[in-house]
């Protein structure tokens, strides 16, 4: 079991079933997913594209499961609820979006360290 500051890879290790090659593929894929989707959630929120934001959050839920970062997962879920409610409270949304972006960056930094 590997524990990091931002990553909790217990779920990923379960899914990889002890296969290191799979583990590496998943870690690489996680880094790519987080990098590729940087800023997407904020853009969709600012453009009030609520159905697209809902789809994004649904997709991101699967991605963030592999990070094991509970605060990141919860932030995404909060954002998902806001999208279902056409944005919800704007101030709160800003807080959630910042939480999402910062924690994603932290996870990516750790992944970069692991995949060096």
């Amino acid at each position: 079991m590997i524990k990091h500051k931002s990553l909790d890879l217990r779920y990923m290790e379960t899914m990889a079933a002890g296969d290191q090659e799979t583990m590496n593929a998943l870690l690489t894929s996680l880094r790519q997913e987080l990098s590729n989707n940087r800023g997407v959630a904020r853009r969709l929120y600012q453009n009030a594209q609520w159905s697209e934001l809902e789809r994004f959050c649904h997709h991101f839920k699967s991605t963030l499961s592999f990070s094991g970062n509970t605060q990141l997962i919860n932030a995404n879920l909060q954002l998902w609820d806001m999208a279902k409610n056409s944005g919800g409270n704007t101030a709160m949304a800003d807080t959630v979006l910042r939480e999402l972006e910062q924690r994603c960056q932290a996870v990516v930094r750790e992944l970069n360290q692991m995949l060096k």
């Binding site: 899914m15 998943l26 790519q32 789809r55």
Partner: protein, 649 residues
Amino acid sequence: MRKAPVQGPVRSTLAAQRSVVRVLLIEDDSSYADLVKILLSANPEQECEVTVASTLAEGLRSLEQRLDLDAVLLDLSLPDSTGLDTLLAVLGAFPTINVIVLTGSDDQEQGILAVGAGAQDYLVKGEFEPNQLARVLRFSMERKQILMRLEEAQRIAKIGNWELRPEESYFFASPQLYETLGLDAARDQISYGDLLEEEHPLHILLQHTQNLEDDEEGDSLEFVLNDGSKRHLLLTSKRLEQKDGVPVYIGTLQDTTLQRKAEELQRAQELAEETARVREQVIATVSHELRTPMNAIVGMSHLLAETQMDEEQGQYVTAVQEASQLLLGIINDILLTSSLQNDALQLEEAPFDLTLTVRGIIAMLRPKAEAKGLQLLLDIQPSIPGRILGDKQRISQVLYNVIGNAIKFTDEGEVGIQVTVLEETYSLKVWDTGPGIPPEKQQEIFQPFSRLESSATKQEGTGLGLNITQALVQRMGGEIGLASTLGQGSEFEIVLPLKIVDQSQVPIVPEVDYSPVSEVPADRILLVEDHKMNQIVLKQTLAKKWPDLQVRIASNGAEAKQLLSQEDFDVVLMDIQLPDTDGFTLTQELRSQPDNRNVNTPVLAMTAQAQVANDDRYLEVGMVDFVLKPFNPEELYQKLTQHSLKNNT
């Protein structure tokens, strides 16, 4: 004030209904005959047509020729016959004729005797006027008619009447009574003296009348006729007292043989029905009480098998499991037989895929066939409708029984299954290269608890399989036939009514109940999943279990459609949320394309939403099952194995 009586309808007399009364006068004295003719012509009530015969023989000839005579005026003293013999001769030949006897003035006694012997009345020559003659004629005709009706009624009801006057040594019995006793009224006349003899069959009348406790009684008797046949009789007796206190006894004797037989049959039938009901209740109750603990044995042995055991313990547990499964099967057979006999089995009628059903049964039984080195051949007519109506479970059971038997009793060669469609029926044929069934056993094997022993092995089971099979087929409106030749094999044919489903109305849901576990459940599966990381996990999870399994991946609906149209898949894992569509819509579109090579390929939903289990939508669109995310690998393996098309062909 008293009400005036209401007059009912008045029946017209028989004489009044005749336009002409036809009379035969048998009288040898021609002058007297002329006188009678004059008297008859002066009949104030009726016109008479008179025919005269001067001898008995001539009179009998007239009677033969003239069936419409209303009365015979008969002189007892004729050249060719005298006295009562004359009357008896006429009545013997024509028992229903109405006879009025003409006697001499010094011979009235004979007239009275004549009435007792069957004449309707008598007239003393020279002592009657036209009115009197007319009245006697009319009364005799009416009385004769009444007596004839009474006799006919007795004949129909098989009831005769009798009269006994012990003080006068008199006994009378109606013709029907004689008939009931198998006697001839004319030939076997019974007198009072006959009754006194203890051996006489009607001596019982004397005993009955002497032992009357009430004025009227009835008794059932068993009577043996001269020809040895038995009759059940109902004897009734009634005591009447005349003015002088002398008792007279009257009664009836009725043949109740038919009623008694009907009652016995009714009782026997009720007893048989009650016995059958009790038997079935006992079987059902006992079987149910057996099945409950059996389920516990099966369940616990299954749990035990999943614990850690050494090899020896494992063998013991396996033996317990096999024996308990066998016993459970026997109990279920008995319960099903009971349901069929009690007419308690409800058949379903729902759309199902016959081809897949047959394939499923074959897949279940293939290991048994292969273990014996038998080839299992399948020939399904291409024109079999996609969906038909019927009770899939019972049809499966029928197929399982028949194909299972073929495999059980065939030691080498082949077992074949052929499915064909006829005009309004479809046929399921199962043939084998086994030893065949002797002709004398070919009906017997469908009887309950009938078992055919094979030469090599002792067969297990209740012997109810074919009996259940036949009963199920018949309940479904079909027939099962058998053709078999010793040393060559047997062929069972089941023909069932064909009820086609409107293919456009029903979503095609692949039905796969039977899942023998094979090494690789599929040749190729399609994974429709847009999330890259889920794709990696799934591929890796499947590769770990089945390295040779080919997995194609579609990241969106468009890619999935393309792959489904180009390649054959044994099963599809379908994510619900896709970038360009959703899994439900994609599946529904697939099912609506009969020409798509994967139209019948099983589709499993992949979803994180546990509530899919309670939502029939996935079934409505044509999916067969679901897998929850995050995946449980064992659940994924089990469901792929269960639903894969490869496992069911």
